[in-house]
Amino acid sequence: MPFASIDDLQSALLAADYLPDRGLGTALFLALRLQKPLLLEGEAGVGKTEAAKALARAQGARLIRLQCYEGLDVAHAVYEWNYSRQLLHIRAAQEGSVAEEELFGPEFLIRRPLLEAIESTDPVVLLIDEIDRADDEFEAFLLEVLSDFQITIPEIGTIRAKRRPSVILTSNRTRELHDALKRRCLFHWIGHPSLEREIEIVRLRVPGVPERLAAQAARFVQGLRSLDLAKPPGVAETLDWAQALAALGHEELSAEVVEETLGSVLKYHEDLLSVRDETLVGLLEEARSAR
């Protein structure tokens, strides 16, 4: 179902439990309208992957996810032949030889995410997650797929997309991507949300969280981000924390509560050590002043 305007898309995303700001809303809208892949970058935990999932839910589309890793190759990303079935088939034929075309036909093909997305006749959101982890060879291959939306299998021929999937790529910027790949994508940088938005996100995603607690947790995490930490917490951490606090039945933050649960916000030992005593008291005071 196409969205008529950015507002339309944003309310559909909200209904799918995702709260994008205007910038991300525009990016997703343009990606759909211009039928171009969208590259999302940003710090860990700002909701890059979540955006793709929400887009799929909002459209009622199927989400096909390709998690990238080093050494990812065509056999795991696109297709692979079902070798054991092929061998059995040759055996079963016993006398008389097996035609090659028969052996390399669609029924012996194992479809991996990219091929599945290209072949699908239903609407699909293709999430290519953490593309920066894949290596150069794969990036070059992906370039081909994303520019023509077709895949060539030597034994079968070229398979063209019957319906272009919406493509979202995410990157944590562990390395710079090829210019050629970027040229084919729209680009959006997701930053940390504003305080008001973060409170809204917590209340949306953690049902039953006391309003006061949501505001205090969000403000506390915003305070943490302004410190000099090895790994500043993202929205994902705020949500984890709020969930933990709500599950423990807390109504508001206190020094003991924070000490007990801070491990779900700060994942590095040094960071935990640096947020002690006065720092913690200061942040807590700030957070508790939230109305």
Binding site: S5, I6, R22, G23, T26, A27, F29, L30, R33, L34, K36, L38, E41, Y69, E70, G71, D73, W81, Y83, Q86, L87, I90, R91, A93, Q94, S97, V98, E100, L103, D135, D136, E137, N172, R173, T174, R175, E176, D179, K182, R183, C185, L186, F187, H188, W189, A230, K231, E270
Partner: protein, 374 residues
């Protein structure tokens, strides 16, 4: 398609961005125009986001874009798009090191004695004591030394005669002829690929002659393929990788020196390492890499922050090599606070003050294993 006034506006804006250093091709302009066609032009933020998402491809360029957008579409007075500093052709101050700290190296101007090749003498000569002519001569030799690369095992499988994994695809094809019997078996195995190398080079005054040599060395390593990153620091840290791939390394060094050096400030090793860990370590550039730190370890701020940051660095890195030209002097002891604080986190501690020791560095880099004792 939007009206011609808008087309002209966007095309001109594209030119403004190009001038500010962004790469804005015709495809991007086309995307921007199609994008504007889809959104409401009265909403300033929609126009802003549309242009930003279609015209910018790198996070580093966002700030420049914002400044340009403000200047162009809002005519904000006094806010012009920041131009990227372009490296100028200034050679590093080659004479600087000769004044200060080359005392214990052989006196310069000495003619090569008979029986020794000039090259052999140059191999042992301290970089800081070389004349410009001599340095010119060793340039090529340095480049040759840098043609090495630490390897790591890839997860990717390639056909290999003595591999351990069956190449099923080939096997099935071969079995066609024999009715399903795998007579000939082919194998695949993991191959070696270049490991990431990260150089952090101190280019403060005392390091200057060595920094030149090290960067030439690194220029050659960059030539061996992708995955090499170079940073230089004095009072600040700056990334030199793009310059190293395209430009003359000496020019790149000179331009960088003006950016990161504050001659009265002294070297800030701890805060430079911190800047690296914060910005690049967090993006996992360090993970699995061989990190080479080149510095004499003279730190104005005391050793505590160096220890903290070296600990962070060494936890993520595959191995840490510290190159300290002072170590080339026979009586050198790592007593300076900064150096002593760093040593517990260093896997290999090398001099790198002359060509022979750069060769040794190359050997260490190509055969390095995790957690050597320093």
């Amino acid at each position: 398609m939007p009206g011609s006034a808008i087309v002209r506006h966007v095309v001109t804006f594209g030119r403004v961005l190009r001038e500010a250093g962004l790469e804005v091709g015709p495809q991007r302009i086309q995307d921007a125009l199609s994008g504007l066609d889809e959104v409401e032009l009265e909403r300033r933020d929609d126009v802003y986001w549309t242009l930003r998402q279609t015209l910018v491809a790198r996070a580093e360029d966002l700030e420049t874009f914002d400044a340009a957008f403000a200047a162009w579409f809002e005519r904000a007075p006094g806010r012009r798009a920041a131009r990227r500093p372009r490296p100028e052709t200034v050679r590093p101050v080659a004479s600087l090191a000769a004044g200060g700290d080359g005392e214990s190296s052989p006196p310069s101007g000495e003619q090569p004695a008979r029986g020794w090749s000039a090259e052999e003498l140059l191999r042992k000569k301290d970089f800081a004591a070389m004349s410009p002519d001599e340095f010119e001569h060793v340039r090529k030799l340095i480049a040759r030394a840098g043609d090495c690369r630490p390897q790591r095992r890839s997860r990717r499988l390639r056909p290999h005669r003595r591999g351990r994994d069956l190449d099923l695809r080939r096997l099935v094809r071969a079995s066609l002829a024999t009715g399903g019997d795998a007579v000939e078996r082919s194998f695949r195995r993991r191959t070696d690929v270049p490991r990431k190398v990260v150089l952090l080079c101190d280019i403060s005054g005392s390091m200057e002659a060595y920094a030149r040599a090290l960067l030439l060395f690194l220029h050659a390593v960059v030539g061996s393929g992708r995955g090499v990153e170079a940073f230089v620091f004095g009072t600040r840290l700056t990334r030199l990788t793009p310059e190293l791939t395209t430009r003359d390394p000496e020019q790149a060094l000179a331009a960088a020196a003006r950016r990161v050096l504050d001659w009265t400030g002294g070297t800030r090793i701890g805060s430079s390492l911190k800047a690296f860990n914060d910005e690049w370590g967090r993006r996992a550039l360090t993970r699995g890499a061989v990190v080479v730190v080149a510095s004499d370890g003279w730190e104005r701020e005391g050793g505590a922050s160096i220890a903290t940051e070296m600990a962070r660095l060494s936890r993520a890195a595959f191995a840490v090599v510290w190159v300290n030209p002072l170590k080339g002097h026979p009586e050198y002891q790592p007593l300076a606070g900064g150096m002593r604080a760093a040593l517990p986190y260093v896997d290999r501690f090398l001099p790198g003050h002359n060509l022979a020791s750069l060769d040794a560095l190359a050997q260490v880099l190509s055969g390095i294993e995790r957690r050597h004792a320093a």
